[in-house]
Symmetry: C3
Subunit: 226 residues, 3 copies
Amino acid sequence: MSTIPESAQIGNHAVIEEDVKIGENVVIGHNTVILKGTQIEDDVTIGCNCVLGIKPAVNPRMRKVSKADSSLVIQAGTRIGHLASIYSGTQIGKNVFVGDHASIRENVNIDEESVIGRAAIVELNTKIGKSCTIQTQAYVTGDTTLEDHVFIGPCVSMSNDKYMGAAAFSLKGAYIKKGAKVGNNASLLPGITIGENTIVGAGAVVTKHLEDNIVAAGVPARNIKS
Amino acid sequence: MSTIPESAQIGNHAVIEEDVKIGENVVIGHNTVILKGTQIEDDVTIGCNCVLGIKPAVNPRMRKVSKADSSLVIQAGTRIGHLASIYSGTQIGKNVFVGDHASIRENVNIDEESVIGRAAIVELNTKIGKSCTIQTQAYVTGDTTLEDHVFIGPCVSMSNDKYMGAAAFSLKGAYIKKGAKVGNNASLLPGITIGENTIVGAGAVVTKHLEDNIVAAGVPARNIKS
Amino acid sequence: MSTIPESAQIGNHAVIEEDVKIGENVVIGHNTVILKGTQIEDDVTIGCNCVLGIKPAVNPRMRKVSKADSSLVIQAGTRIGHLASIYSGTQIGKNVFVGDHASIRENVNIDEESVIGRAAIVELNTKIGKSCTIQTQAYVTGDTTLEDHVFIGPCVSMSNDKYMGAAAFSLKGAYIKKGAKVGNNASLLPGITIGENTIVGAGAVVTKHLEDNIVAAGVPARNIKS
């Protein structure tokens, strides 16, 4: 059994498996499941019907990930919504906000003060900097890097597999530099870079590298203002 | 404790917090959580593993909303699917259908006979008229108005923040007039108007106001038939 | 009550309704709901907080489906993630993988070794062949057929209703032939065919039939390489 401090508020029918560490003043909602080995620091709030600390499934048609056996760590002051799922081997920094229905895979690092929107998905091996905003329903694929203060609009879609499963290929997501902003429902192709403070318009399809400080829009995305 | 009429069917491990009002012939699924103050009228059916009546989180990087302390009201005859989340301060009219995995924020008003699709999201301060259809995975951003009989196709994306967090800006979603139809995966920019009975093609990017009774398609969307 | 073999591992607060058949070595996560009549074969693993075996809702504004009263069948070796929902009248083949937050409707047939991604949605009356991959957040509309080895990228959107609810129309999704690949966030219009081994680029809008063995991209999608 895990030790639960007296200052914690645990909801009805919450399931807390063994070897879970719970800090002071933690709130865990009704029917939420905290799986084995999860570490929850002080002043963390977690909603109802979540599943946290999931061990990655091993499937012959899906790739393997190292570090899969390390814990999920949720740092102090972070708030997780309702009906969210988060994997083990991931670290969520201080004062992060994770929306309802969001899903975060294994081996992800989210730095402090970032917001992961409602129903947004962050795939494995991804690094998200400080004070980033990932809006509602956005899809951050695996092997992606976001520097600090990046804004990803609602429903943005990314991919990391140039050959869509057809060839041996080193999977590579986007690299998005400091302060870049991507408009709603834009599509990013595998391995592209978006420059510092660059703005991508809504619905754009980004097929190649974008320089710093430009505004790009259209299909494919072109610099519309330097 | 809340009073539960004998005519109600309450699932296993459902959690019903205090000050919840439940009408006659209400069905609540297994493991569903009904939070404090929620009002459920007669003949409402709610699926399993839902979370209803959520109080908005207060986060310094997210804006504040008035009316956050009023109740969630679900009017008679409405059906809520499974794994859905709905916030307090929202009113859902009669005979509405809310799909599985859908999420509806605070201070939303949905008029009678409308359908909110599977995994669709309706953000805060939004008004949806009578007999509207919001299809699967569509994203209705905050501060949006849909008049009656509007059709929003699957995966449609909207935004309400012209400067993507970069400037002080009064957030403004789309205003979509009576009978308009928006095709699947179209993108709507902040503050645009779509005219009465106008049709927007699949995958279009709507960057400016569209008149009544036109058909618009492309990136950016243009009138293709008057 | 349903009979649960000694080899099954059933999580805390899981709800298993009557007439459920459970094979050997089945794992069912915490707080998961298995509704009446569901058939789970040997070596199936199901995550936490799922709802399986849902009977379709009957709503005057939504169409009726035959076979709605047959069971959900999950064949041997299949793995279902967390927070997923699956309807009755659907058959999921052997060694299929269904991601977290995914939703699969009634009267769907998924053949062996296919992957249904995280938060992907498969609507009713759809047939998915062997070893298909439906990536994260993709939307497979109703009345769609995927032959074997089809790849649907993340956030792909489909539609099956040419008149968006405005006219009597026989709903028809896409027909996607063997080995075709659809890039992320592409939009498919109702009733189109995508040829064998054809590749559709990210963000493309497919408005008409695409031949075998081509590469199509753009809005609307055109053959860019024969």
